[in-house]
């Protein structure tokens, strides 16, 4: 579903991704772990299409199509969803209005009829349960005054409503206590399925106890230094990134 080959990207003149390779098939859950500055968020933003990140080499194919040439909204139509690490607040725009606009924009681009108010409400009410979200949240402005946990749950809620093919979670666990973490993980797990893939970007292993990955990759200095199964995450937790960094330095 997702093929990343030799991806190089930079921001503010500095190269962050230095030849990243990654392949994700439908139905799989991949995790990328790495120390601060390794390029985790850069990868997430590049996949979402944020303009401040410049791709200097390599390619990304999503279902065989060149993802890097697509505008952010086109990537969303294609089925890519990024759960942001720091979701932005949008005063004056209610969750309801925002989500309805998004749902219907996607439906329109896919040649479907828009959802009417009743069907839309039914949809969001059902998906709100995935992450324990109260209906009152629908009338609040997007992310405005939300606690860290609420913001992260809101990202997963949106993902549940928009039903992407590839869900990218950018350090969704950062700033969450264990209870919030469990709710978020539960939401993601309910969305797992044979036609959907996830890329879970995280710094700490703890989230992976709840969202158990099929594959774990370690990102060091802009490249995947090591890949393995879910045990690799536990190994990292015990030994830290230093061990892997040494290995990577030796093989380069």
């Amino acid at each position: 579903m997702l093929e990343i080959r030799n991806l190089h990207a930079r921001v503010a003149g500095r190269e962050i991704l230095k030849g990243l390779d990654l392949t994700i098939h439908r139905g799989e859950v991949h995790s990328i772990m790495g120390p601060n500055g390794s390029g985790k968020s850069t990868l997430a933003q590049v996949l979402a299409g944020h303009e401040t990140y410049e791709v200097t080499d390599g390619e990304v194919l999503f279902e065989g199509q060149n993802l890097l040439e697509m505008d952010p909204e086109v990537r969303a139509v294609a089925g890519v969803f990024l759960a942001f690490q720091y979701p932005v607040e949008i005063p004056g725009v209610t969750m309801n209005y925002f989500l309805k606009s998004a749902v219907n924009a996607l439906r329109k681009a896919r040649g479907q009829d828009p959802l009417d108010a009743v069907d839309f409400l039914e949809l969001v009410r059902e998906r709100a349960k995935f992450v324990d979200i109260d209906e009152r949240m629908f009338q609040r402005a997007v992310n405005e005054g939300f606690s860290g946990g609420e913001k992260k749950r809101n990202e997963i809620f949106q993902m549940a409503v928009l039903e992407p093919k590839l869900g990218i979670l950018d350090e969704t666990d950062s700033g969450l206590d264990i209870d919030a973490l469990k709710i978020v993980a539960h939401g993601v797990n309910q969305l797992r399925g044979p036609d959907r893939a996830f890329l879970v970007i995280t710094h700490y292993q703890r989230l992976l106890n709840f969202i158990v990955p099929d594959y774990v990759h370690v990102l060091i200095d802009g490249r995947i230094a090591k890949s393995g199964g879910k045990e690799l995450a536990l190994e990292l937790e015990e030994k830290g990134y230093a061990g892997v960094e040494e290995e990577a330095a030796q093989t380069v």
Binding site: A48, P72, I90, S101
Partner: protein, 447 residues
């Protein structure tokens, strides 16, 4: 009697000619005398220039030079379809003023409850002369302001709204001032008087709109008196043409414990200047002044607010927002004056501006003159662009870029519209914002 401008600069001397030809229509002597004083004062003051501090950002010289004719008779050119767009509430009492002259045929005001007077100013002079005499030009100053002087000298007609003590008027009042027709540039000076007596309540909407094909100069003055403990919900909508120059004055005087909420929305007009002046002349007044400007093309919109806290324990809130696209420009000047005895004043002023293009421009200037020592006075202004991160967030959810930008602009503007209390005009304004966003405008030469 001829008057001469005090110097030779082209500063509106065409209006002296108008005055010489002007017929007082058999009005009372006090009015004729008032008009003469006003014209004398206008001749002294002339049009302001950019050297005047209060006109630093708004250049009227292209207008001052023009040879305006008196306004044509609007009855022949006004279109019913056009008028219908500005009917916000089917229950409203309605006055229609075409090119500064009252149109009996288009107005509907016979359903006013007894005691309430909603009528043309010229009819009011005959039937309610005492009310007019006791308020006309007693609040807006012909001495301090050239455009009040000009309007007072040359006003042809307008409206009187009078609500007696204790009357709660349920039906809103809609006054529509239309600029229509004409072969060559012309000027009109409509005058409005709104008096709401003690403990009375009323809702009034003034709409200044135009579909004239020529350039025109609209010079309205509105005086509003809010009696003790009265409540007024007031809206002013300006939707003039790109070729119009609109210089308007609103003068509000509030007596003790009154509440006035006034919303000022400007969507159209080549060059618009509004003076929104308020005098809090009694204890315990509450004054909310909200405004929204949507500018594009080559429009220039200047909102000059002046509020005087003359008495203690009054609250005022000014919240003006502007959106500027294309090569449009805007000015916000907010002067707050607190008199020495006006203790426990609570005044807040907020001006927020959104620039949608690289060529749009805004000047925002607060002025605080505080002579009391136990007051709360805050002011803040922002001039910025759309939040890129917010746009990206929306796009990442599938909302196309233009729609994402529109959504954010709508939210910014809706903040003012949602605070309006009169539901009919409020929902119309919501629609107008949406329409404004959907229209693509190429910058035109204006004025």
């Amino acid at each position: 009697m001829t008057m001469a401008m005090t110097d030779s600069k082209p500063r509106g001397d065409v209006f002296l000619t108008h005055f010489e030809r002007f017929e007082n229509n058999g009005g009372p002597d006090w009015l004729a005398s008032l008009r003469r004083s006003a014209m004398t004062r206008f001749a002294e003051l002339g049009f302001p220039t950019v050297k005047d501090e209060e006109w630093r950002f708004t250049n009227l010289s292209p207008v001052a030079r023009r040879a305006f004719e008196s306004a044509p008779d609007g009855d022949e050119t006004v279109s019913p379809e056009f008028i219908a767009r500005f009917r916000y509430d089917d229950h409203a009492l309605r006055l229609v003023i075409l090119n500064g002259r009252f149109s009996r045929r288009l107005s509907h005001f016979s359903a006013a409850p007894s005691g309430v007077t909603v009528t043309s100013l010229s009819l009011a002079l005959r039937q309610h002369g005492e009310i007019v005499k006791s308020h006309l030009a007693k609040h807006a100053s012909i001495v301090d302001d050239a455009f009040t002087a000009l309007n007072t000298a040359l006003m042809t007609d307008g409206a009187l709204v009078y609500v007696p003590r204790g009357v709660v008027l349920e039906q809103p009042i809609e006054i529509l001032y239309v600029a229509t027709g004409g072969d060559t540039e012309w000027a009109a000076h409509p005058r409005t008087l709104i008096v709401v007596e003690e403990n009375a309540q009323a809702g009034i909407v003034e709409s200044y709109v135009g579909d004239s094909p020529t350039a025109y100069f609209m010079n309205p003055v509105t005086e509003i008196v809010a009696g003790a403990a009265s409540v007024i919900d007031h809206v002013r909508v300006t939707q003039e043409t790109d070729k119009a120059c609109h210089v308007g004055v609103q003068q509000l005087r509030q007596l003790r414990n009154s509440t006035v909420r006034s919303t000022n929305l400007t969507f159209g007009g080549g060059l618009v200047r509004q003076d929104v002046n308020t005098l809090l002349d009694g204890e315990g007044c509450n004054c909310v002044l909200n405004g929204l400007t949507l500018g594009r093309g080559r429009q220039h919109v200047d909102n000059h607010l002046r509020i005087t806290h003359a008495k203690p324990h009054c609250d005022s809130r000014e919240f003006y927002k502007g959106v500027y696209d294309g090569k449009s420009s805007g000015v916000f000047s907010g002067r707050i004056m607190v008199h020495q005895g006006a203790q426990k004043t609570d005044a807040k002023q907020t001006n927020m501006n959104l620039l949608l293009s690289g060529e749009a421009h805004v000047d925002s200037k607060p002025q605080l003159e505080i002579f009391a020592d136990d007051v709360k006075c805050t002011h803040g202004a922002t001039i910025g662009q759309l939040d890129d991160n917010a746009v990206f967030y929306l796009r990442s959810r599938g909302i196309p870029q233009d729609a994402a930008r529109d959504l954010l602009v709508q939210a910014f503007a809706a903040d003012i519209v949602k605070r309006m209390a009169l539901s009919g005009v409020k929902s119309s304004m919501d629609q107008w914002v949406t329409t404004w966003l959907s229209e693509d405008v190429v910058p035109q030469e204006v004025v």
